[in-house]
Amino acid sequence: SPALAEKFGLGRPALPEEIAAWNLDVAPDGTGLPEGSGTVADGEMLFSENCAVCHGEFAEGVDNWPKLAGGEGTLANDDPVKTVGSYWPYLSTVFDYVHRSMPFGGAQTLSADEVYAITAYILYSNFLVDDDFELSRENFLEVELPNAGGFIVDDRAETEYPQFSQAPCMTDCKDTVEITMRAAVLDVTPEEESADAVAEKEAIKQAA
């Protein structure tokens, strides 16, 4: 617990300019959003120049690169498509992540206005705003993403730990044992790939 502790007098106070340079994170309630604004139209142009080579002109994704739009209503399907529109809970995360870490290989090259515009375009690509929409710090919290209510806090302590904390069976635990699936049949270790593996590959790709 944060009790009173001995101080060592190491380090030095951080300067405001230094904190401003590194403290870029944006919270769901808008804390951390910089001044600025951007339109869907500007965002479409910026996205085409900076993002579309991997994410597609309509944010639909190219090859194995992440889809940013689409997949609405697929989360309970066998192969959910998780995008900003279908899965992400908060718009703050879109702004924050694009601002700090995109484009891939050229991160931190976008101004605040440009990130507002690209964020507006991603909303448009997900059919969440009209083409004349302008996103700004002032109206940012008016946008609610479709899956904002789709998350629960880790509940393993209630749903799993009691039933997985029973004394285990040691003998005569089951009558028969049959092999139901074989990795060698799938044969995707490590480079090869079969049609059967494509669906699973899609799921894992989303983990990347």
């Binding site: 060592f8 951080a14 403290n23 994170d25 629960i152 005569d172 139901t180 699936m181 990795a183």
Partner: protein
Amino acid sequence: MTDQSQPSTTRRGFIKAGLATGGAIAAGGAAGAAEPDPLITEIQPWAQGLGDGVDAVPYGLPIEYESDVVRRNVPWLTADVISSINFTPIHALDGTITPQGCAFERHHSGAIELRKEDYRLMINGLVDTPLVFTYEDLERFPRESHVYFCECAANTGMEWAGAQLNGAQFTHGMIHNMEYTGVPLRTLLEEAGVQPEGKWIFVEGADASSNGRSMPLEKAMDDVLVAFKANGEALRKEHGYPVRLVVPGWEGNMWIKWLRRVEVTTQAIESREETSKYTDTLADGTSRKWTWVMDAKSVITSPSPQSPIKHGPGPLVITGLAWSGRGAIERVDVSTDGGKTWQTARLAQPGQPMALSRFYLDIDWDGSEMLLQSRAMDSTGYVQPTKAQLREVRGLNSIYHNNCIQTWWVKESGEAENVEVS
């Protein structure tokens, strides 16, 4: 003189040794040798000439005959090799400490090069005095050393829908276990002075991905280390040189590498790595967030698909690893018949909290098929579940946190395969 130690000479000796071993197997293992073994009766070059001088290798690598004990990647898993994963060769290792050189990597924008001279750590947010530390500053705080496992949340994630990758390295190798030395994060936070409104921290790395994650202040003040040494030496570049976060028992994504900033906040930032990723979708389409702890898990590392039985029937060492993010491993049971019956294996050492444990079960293999499984139990009483049990709660699409019991089908040939059983 030095010619005697040239690789060509040694290799000739190695080939001879191989032939001799093959002959011994043909002759029937422990049965008496039909002919004298030339590896014994003939003077070998290494017994006559000289080996390498002490100046030959200032920092050594494994001998060439161990060249298969390396990290491997699976190209189809990710879109590119920069935001990607590779796998520790756990099938070939023993004990618990992972050699750093083959310990898995997971980057989101590559392994960056950050000199100690260029390193800065900032603590800001709800603190009395926002601070900047240099690397030298960190080395002046009181240190601790602990052994912990770092397991990627996605370890075994490819196996949710079925048996897919054929080898413990691929199914369970997103893990390493090292002895870390560093400064408790608590010490640094107290140096800055955490304000009462502070409930969370947000931590991020110096790389382009930043890998920012939120963590409750209680964990930060408990056992989180700001580490600069692993297994006795500086962190490897790919593991966060010069400074990474060590978050005992919690999913590997939170072990921020190239740590550059710790911000004390009132709330979770809900960053990309805790919303889009590292959230676990259940069958009904809702998703768990903040699934930080890695539950009890184990795997038999040998025999396994990459480590088949080559010696025929008779004495067989079954060995593997067990670990839990909720405490120490207290027991590991092993089944050779797909879970019908179990016997308790032997732990090499008493389990340590949130660290890998090594287990052994020595059996007399009669040469018939086996369905090998291991089942870990931790100090909370939690018993590692089957995949069916996990699927019943979670469905097939949660990607992360697959700690199910693994089955290897060992055939009469001694080869092993990744399978699922009823």
